[in-house]
């Protein structure tokens, strides 16, 4: 029983981590209709910036704020300098550019911060709460992770649903010309979308780093795949879908690890993805089948 409880709790935590990453993907998809493969590397570089600060004696929170700001700047710069020239062309071009960017940023991290594994200390205790004689796989830090992910989810949903900026961002993504005719500054909206997505990505990077404990320039690689699966499960369009998709995936993979074997984790994720796409091609939370301009 204790094992089941701990596997479930562990699954929720890993699920939250996948969700954090999926949220950033959803954000960029909703605001620019691009799948950003460089998301993981962008998150990793801001995490390393924060880690350097933390290692030099600053508090975690200073590191976090700097990481988020760095994310904002990097997101905007990347959009303006790298993505803008290929925007408006075939969709594949932008996606391939993000792949290139992924490799380039990862290399840059190695150059700037070295390739060694480094310890990332979580902001809160990672020692599990105790119930009677048993320890739960639930600690103050995992509550922080869960809380932060839920907060971002709510924030993004509110942004897109209730604010003029959110509406303008959605409009820019769906139909640039129509949006322009209606007075939306499309260029700015696209930049803002990238910048915000990079901020969420940076937060995800920080949360994930605390969960995986040891980071290298490639530490996001393993999570990128699962983050994508989570986002696609949720339909790529819905912040709530990303979180639910992440949690479901996290739970399933945790059970697979605990009861079947670590080596089947990748396969299990693939099976889930195929089944969901067969049954609901738009993802679990899709409201419309195709809505493109």
């Amino acid at each position: 029983m204790q094992q089941f409880v701990n596997l479930t709790l562990g699954g929720v935590i890993t699920g939250a981590v996948y969700a954090a990453f999926a949220l950033a993907l959803v954000l960029i998809w909703r605001s620019t209709r691009i799948v950003n493969f460089a998301q993981g590397a962008m998150a990793a570089i801001t995490t390393f910036i924060a880690l350097s600060l933390i290692e030099s004696g600053q508090s975690y929170w200073v590191g976090l704020v700097v990481a988020l700001l760095a994310g904002l700047v990097i997101g905007a710069v990347v959009e303006r300098l790298v993505i803008r020239p290929v925007e408006g062309g075939p969709e594949l071009n932008a996606v391939i550019v993000t792949l290139g960017l992924f490799i380039a940023i990862q290399a840059l991290i190695s150059v700037l911060f070295g390739v060694n594994q480094r310890a990332f200390v979580a902001p809160f205790s990672t020692i599990g709460f105790r119930v009677g004689d048993n320890s739960l796989a639930l600690s103050p830090n995992t509550l922080f992770t869960l809380g932060a992910v839920l907060l971002v989810m709510v924030g993004l949903t509110a942004l897109f649903r209730f604010t003029r900026v959110g509406l303008a961002m959605r409009a820019s993504a769906f139909g640039q010309e129509v949006a322009r005719l209606l007075g939306v500054r499309v260029g700015r909206m696209l930049t803002l979308g990238w910048a915000l997505a990079a901020v969420v990505g940076s937060l995800a990077g920080m949360l994930i780093a605390a969960e995986v404990t040891f980071v290298t320039p490639t530490y996001m690689d393993a999570l990128i795949v699962f983050g994508f699966v989570a986002a696609v499960l949720g339909g790529l369009d819905s912040p709530v879908g990303a979180v639910v998709g992440g949690l479901l995936l996290g739970l399933l993979l945790s059970y697979v690890r605990g009861y079947v074997g670590d080596e089947l984790v990748g396969l299990a994720a693939l099976v889930v993805l195929v089944v969901v796409l067969l049954v609901r091609p738009g993802g679990l939370f899709s409201t419309t089948q195709t809505r493109r301009a």
Partner: protein
């Protein structure tokens, strides 16, 4: 150094360097095999009148780089030391190592480069089971000596199929046997859990341990390197009630398993195989946690492990004193670590092999020398090698120790054994000391 002056060293080695501290080294290295009898020749690929080129692949970047990337610097330091003292038969050793990032695809590529472009005489110390396994066929078909693979897999001991490949460290199966017997004798009532890397490393180790612990094992959990979440595995061990966990894992998973167990309030007796237990590396990974959430600074205190070569926590050991001197002289950055000591121990064995191969060896001569003389070499290892024409396996034994702070205390004498159901026996040989010069002096086999 010009060719003629190098030859001079070869002829009058003892006289030339007699006044220096390294006199005996020069005599041993330069004169080994009666260097004055005949002239040096370019007797095979990678060997000239005054150089021998040795190549290797290591993970210098990526997940496996911490620790392992230090090994070639230790090798470098020792080869530099030998070169400064006359080289081997007057030949300077050129040491070329390339980064494969612990990715077998890269390994094939860099080893191709080493063999075909750099034209090395031999490969030494290629690191990793999946990585090196990708190149053994190529090396054997090209007839390149593939000495002293840095991995305890049993794959390297296959003289029929892979006549050019040799292991070096004790293989994981005999380590598993020695660990298994120790646990069965000293913890007869323990419920044993296994924490295994999901490849040969974990499988061979578990197979050895099971010879003695079949009835005591209550859980067996594996992880795939790269998956950083080991909560499910540690939860499963905890749920099975294992109170002694044997880990056949790499160092970063030692750190991860320790932290995860702490998070889950799980406190079994831990027993990590030699590979995963380097206290300095694991300690450096865990150090930052001692300041924050984790209160206990010495998480590894009391953990059991095994040893087969001297480690840097015994500064009085004559081998470590030699290594320290060699390391300081090499002027490279950083401290002498266990990984560098490992590299130096292997480099020492390599010099023995080259000396045994004679003055103008071919690649086949080198292989024959290891087969014929290897079992008699005295070096830093606690137990002798198992080399023969029918056996290409490395060290035959190790001892069990307990980690105390940054050091360790021995719990058993050196125990030697062999694969399969060979008995485990106490080794009756003496502990060795390095020669005065710090350089071996083996007679050529032919």
């Amino acid at each position: 150094m010009t060719r003629s002056s190098r030859r001079l060293v070869s002829f009058v080695a003892a006289a030339t360097v007699a006044s220096t501290l390294a006199a005996c080294g020069g005599g041993g290295g330069g004169g080994g095999g009666g260097g004055g009898d005949e002239e040096n020749e370019a007797s095979d690929v990678g060997i000239t009148e005054d150089t021998i080129r040795i190549g290797a692949h290591y993970p210098l970047t990526g997940v496996a780089a911490p620790g392992y990337s230090e090994i070639p610097t230790g090798v470098q330091a020792y080869f530099d030391y030998v070169n400064a003292n006359g080289g081997v038969n007057g030949r300077e050793i050129e040491w070329i190592y390339r980064d494969d990032a612990y990715n077998p695809t890269n390994t094939s590529q860099v080893v191709n480069q080493l063999v075909l472009e750099d034209e090395v005489f031999a490969i030494m110390g290629g690191l990793g089971t999946p990585t090196h396994n990708a190149v053994t066929d190529f090396l054997n078909s090209e007839g390149v000596p593939d000495l002293f693979v840095s991995s305890g897999s049993r794959l390297w001991d296959d003289p029929e199929e892979k006549p050019y490949t040799f292991g070096w460290q004790p293989d994981y199966e005999i380590e598993g046997k020695i660990i298994g017997q120790y646990v069965a004798e000293n913890f007869p009532d323990a419920k044993v859990g296994l924490f295994l890397q999901g490849d040969d490393f974990g499988e061979d180790g578990a197979a050895g341990a099971k010879q003695f612990l079949e009835d005591q094992i209550v859980a067996e959990e594996t992880y795939v390197p790269g998956n950083t979440d080991v909560r499910p595995q540690i939860s499963a061990l905890q749920a099975a009630g294992a109170d002694l966990v044997l880990g056949f894992n790499v160092p970063s998973y030692t750190a991860l398993s320790q932290l995860t167990a702490l998070q889950l309030g799980y406190q079994p007796q831990w027993f990590y195989s030699n590979v995963g237990s380097d206290p300095a590396l694991v300690g450096s990974l865990l150090a930052r946690f001692s300041e924050g959430a984790v209160s206990d600074a010495s998480l590894l205190d009391g953990v059991l492990t095994t040893e087969y070569i001297p480690t840097v926590d015994t500064p009085d050991d004559p081998w470590i004193q030699l290594y320290q001197r060699v390391w300081d002289e090499s002027g490279q950055e950083g401290e002498l670590t266990n990984y560098r000591a490992y590299g130096m121990s292997m480099a020492y064995t390599m010099i023995q092999a080259l000396q045994s191969a004679g003055q103008n060896p071919t690649r086949d001569d080198l292989v024959a020398a290891v087969e014929q003389a290897g079992a008699d070499w005295e070096g830093p290892g606690f137990a002798p090698f198992r080399y023969s024409e029918d056996k290409h396996a490395g060290y035959s034994g190790m001892l069990v120790s307990r980690i105390v702070g940054q050091g360790s205390e021995d719990l058993t004498p050196v125990l030697v054994t062999d694969n399969g159901d060979a008995e485990i026996e106490e080794y009756d040989g003496e502990a060795t000391t390095p020669p005065e010069s710090g350089i071996p002096d083996e007679e050529p086999v032919n």
